[in-house]
Amino acid sequence: MKDAFSTYHPLVNFIYFAVVILFSMFLMHPVFLCISFASAFLYSLRLNGKRALKFNLLFLVPFLLVMALLNPLFNHQGVTILFYASSGNPITLEAVLYGFAAALMFVSVICWFSCYNAVMTSDKFLYLFGRVIPALSLVFSMVLRFVPRFKAQICVITRAQACMGRDLHSGNLWQRMKNGVQILSIMVTWALEHSIETATSMKSRGYGLPGRTVFSIFYPEKRDRIFLLLFFALSVFILAGFACGIVFVRYYPALGFTGFAPVPVIFYIGYLALCLLPLIIDLVEEHQWKRFVSIT
């Protein structure tokens, strides 16, 4: 089933991910990092299923550990000395903790990007930037079409060449390489020739003439406005918390951050809500759908 947040307006999707990724990068508070990582992890599971779980466990978790252990080897700030390395440099608790926080930040950013890749498909990106940078957006959409087309064409060329005994599997290594280059050369000629044909066709259909409109299937709805409003309110709230020093974190010289007093906890909950918004939307939608199906 398609994720409900993906059906929102592309601008909403884009703003959401841009802000959440920036927040994950710059809010180095341990609680915020954990919230961001957990939410990104859950959302990527929801979007990509088992594939995401495999990737997260096989790649991200080992990376997290390695990065966390690397930092103290290069960074000797901090007041709590754990022990001295064989080179005589102190290994500090603060450096270990900062390394862990930085690694957690990186891993959650990667996780958010995997969600971004699933939600912000190229058509949405094209829609968003088609008005700002029309020429490059057109290039972009053409490239997306050309890549699979070239792949198909290269199969055609390879088969045709194989009929003449010039395929990649006959002859010695030199011969094979020559055949390979020959196939690519034919490919490039075809591609350039084909591109001129496309351009001529575009021109004769009126590309670049004034007064042409843009087709799009995305319209802003009421739910998009509500989402944005809620999202901006939460973002401003969290930023205000950091700006006023209600929530803070400091790694060097000694670790210090706001714990679980009632006031900071409100901000943690706010951030949790912000990070979980897409997941909540999706779950609510699914619940509504199931109820609807069971009624009818």
Binding site: F146, V147, R149, K151, L192, S195, G208
Partner: protein, 241 residues
Amino acid sequence: MQYDATVTNKKTRTVLTGLLFLLAVPILLAVGVFILHDRSYYLISLLLIICSMIPFVWLFERRKPQARELVVLATLIALAVAGRAAFFMLPQVKPVIAIVILAAVCLGAESGFLVGAMTGFVSNFFFGQGPWTPWQMFCFGLIGYLAGVLVQSGWLPAKKIPLCIFGGLATFLIYGGIMDPAAVLVAQGYLSWQTVLVAYGAGVWFNLIHAVSTVVFLFLFYGPLTQKLERVKNKYGLLDG
């Protein structure tokens, strides 16, 4: 007329780049130091990179390029993206830089930059976007732009062997030289001499493979690709300058 357009374009670009570097860069650095307390290196470097790419994009859009130009650029970008996909299984064996350099040599510095930056951007739609995308776009674009400028100004002869040497060096020094510290910055949030040196040490073999593969691709494709591009250029009269 075409000549006039390119000359004014170059002038505008110089002015615009100058303005950006004299105004935007110091402002960004000041914001980084005074407002963000010299902590958010990633954000500041990201903004600087975006600033450096704006003049190209803006000028390209402003001169309302012809359909032919767009399609030829798209074709080259698609070839580079497909090439990157074809060698996906071999780490760091990428024909992207070779194609970018040849595009710059035949079609000029601006096209070289656009082919490079767009290849970095679009290929990540196939391989996955991440915090590294802007850096890749910048590196590919910069190499393309440099190749175009050096060839146009006569510093770099547009022949096979000099281009191979340039390609190898540019891949190793510019791409590797920027991407390795960028990886550290993305993962750690700050840079220090030790971590950068470790990143270079760990990346030296990857960069070497990348550089060698670029040289090999340039050596193989220089003849066919330039010949074909020149032919299309002459036959249809496009993208001069």
